[in-house]
């Protein structure tokens, strides 16, 4: 199959991350192609969530965290001194495991980010709110209740509200940290469909403990593993998702995805 040459949105090079003296991930290198979905899979504690949080420097907020190596966004290392981390988190947004809408109205949840970057005009905010909710496939369900609290929505709706909130600040990359683990299968299907739609404009990275979800939604898959307890998580295999799930190269990947451990 002829495949257009992929442009890399992010390039992770020899990335290691320490919590104080403990090395959580070691020497991870892989590319995140633009406008594609890259999945990070692996057993609990393998460092996949830690890794995805390195991609927008979310771990900076934790004391004693130190990072070695590079995470390049459009060719620029986000860990270089003086890099604009506020701008970074706007360009690289994140959706978490548990939907976490602010205790505000649906409208205000989505308008919050644009207001932070200085947009005040009501017409413009109205447009952004509607547009973001439409892109998050939530508009039809909430257009008449925009003043209701975001926290009154169902779990799946709350998660799409959080996606709308990320989209509202026009990110380039969206990181999903187990976005469906707290919602039901129907809502999960909606989120997966939504991710497929968003692929046209956004680069996405998804951490998931559901291997079938990775197989369904992603274009590329990275498998991480902690080999012995106390060792750091390492990237074992990275490749296009079809290959990983039909014919992985590394025996450890094969054992994990087929459910044979040890």
């Amino acid at each position: 199959m002829a495949e257009e040459a992929l442009e890399n949105k992010m390039v992770i090079k020899n990335l290691s991350m320490f919590y104080g003296g403990f090395k959580a991930i070691e020497d991870v290198t892989f590319d995140v192609p633009a406008r594609r979905i890259t999945a990070l899979i692996g057993p609990s504690g393998c460092g996949k969530s830690t890794l995805v949080r390195c991609l927008n420097r979310m771990n900076d907020l934790i004391d004693g965290v130190r990072v070695e190596g590079e995470v390049n966004l459009d060719g620029e290392n986000i860990y270089q001194p003086g890099f604009d981390t506020i701008g970074l988190r706007r360009r690289v947004g994140m959706v978490f495991q548990r939907p976490n809408p602010f205790p505000k109205s649906i409208y205000e949840n989505v308008a919050y980010g644009p207001r932070l970057v200085g947009i005040k005009e009501k017409g413009k905010l109205d447009f952004i709110v509607e547009d973001s909710l439409k892109k998050a496939a939530l508009w039809n369900e909430v257009k008449n209740i925009l003043r209701d609290s975001g926290q009154n929505l169902s779990g799946g709706q709350q998660q799409r509200l959080c996606i709308a909130r990320v989209i509202a600040v026009q990110p380039e990359v969206i990181l999903f940290d187990e976005p469906c683990s707290a919602i039901d299968p129907v809502a999960t299907q909606l989120i997966e469909d939504l991710m497929a739609d968003l692929k046209e404009n956004y680069t996405m990275v998804i951490v998931t403990h559901n291997m079938q979800q990775a197989a369904r939604v992603s274009d590329f898959t990275a498998f991480m593993l902690v080999q012995e307890q106390g060792e750091p998580g390492r990237l074992i295999e990275y490749g296009d998702t079809n290959t990983i799930f039909t014919n992985p190269t590394d025996e450890r990947t094969e054992r994990y995805i087929t459910g044979r451990f040890g």
């Binding site: 291997m211 197989a215 799930f245 039909t246 044979r260 451990f261 040890g262």
Partner: protein, 214 residues
């Protein structure tokens, strides 16, 4: 961490079923060979009547295979193994069908006598096809890529004998021409059995390597 014990048990059961089906099929070709060699009508009729056993296996294997695909979403080697087991079952079913066709042709050979050169060549073809099917099943059982690869070479021999029948016929003998026409039909069936063995070999190579064979 807990593995997928029940799934792998079901996969093992599926694997054992297809091996049992393969053993039965090899036995059927062997009996078909004897039925032809001795023009044994009783044996031939038994093969025709016994075909249900193979059909039951293929239904069971396909049903269980589809259920595993639907409910367990297998990947990697497990996925390839299930796909190949299901294909193997289909090939074996066709092989058994071809043996039924041959047996029916044997019933129609009543009153004929096989000349020695026909008997010898046909027997060699039959044995070649049996060896190929055994080799194909072994390559599956032992995950042996070189055995699977060797099948197309073995097939050349069967093809060569198949082509030699028309050439070797004494065209002045009307009786022999009539017999050879019937025998050639049977040799075509054997040739197709050998082709199924080659296809099984290609499936096995896919199962082992994950790469399709050209």
């Amino acid at each position: 961490m807990e593995g997928r014990k029940s799934f792998h048990q079901h996969l093992e059961d599926l694997y054992l079923d297809v091996l049992r089906m393969a053993n039965i099929t090899v036995d059927i070709i062997e009996r078909t060979r004897r039925a032809f060699a001795k023009l044994d009508r009783e044996l031939a009729q038994g093969i025709i009547d016994g075909d249900d056993e193979v059909d039951d296996y293929v239904k069971k294997i396909e049903g269980n295979g589809i259920e595993l695909l639907a409910r367990q979403a297998p990947v990697a080697i497990d996925l390839r193994t299930i796909i190949v087991i299901m294909r193997l079952a289909t090939h074996l079913e066709r092989v058994a069908d071809l043996c039924v066709n041959i047996s029916k042709a044997v019933l129609n050979l009543e009153g004929y006598t096989l000349s020695p050169w026909i008997s010898e060549n046909m027997d060699e073809m039959f044995l070649g096809a049996v060896r190929m099917l055994v080799c194909a099943v072994d390559s599956f059982k032992e995950r042996d890529e070189s055995k699977a690869e060797g099948l197309s070479k073995m097939d050349d021999t069967v093809d060569r004998i198949n082509r030699s029948f028309l050439k070797g016929t004494n065209r002045d003998s009307e009786e022999e021409v009539d017999l050879v026409i019937r025998v050639v039909m049977i040799s075509r069936f054997i040739e197709r059995i050998a082709d199924h063995a080659v296809d099984i070999g290609e499936d096995v190579r896919y199962m082992i390597t994950g790469q399709f064979v050209d």
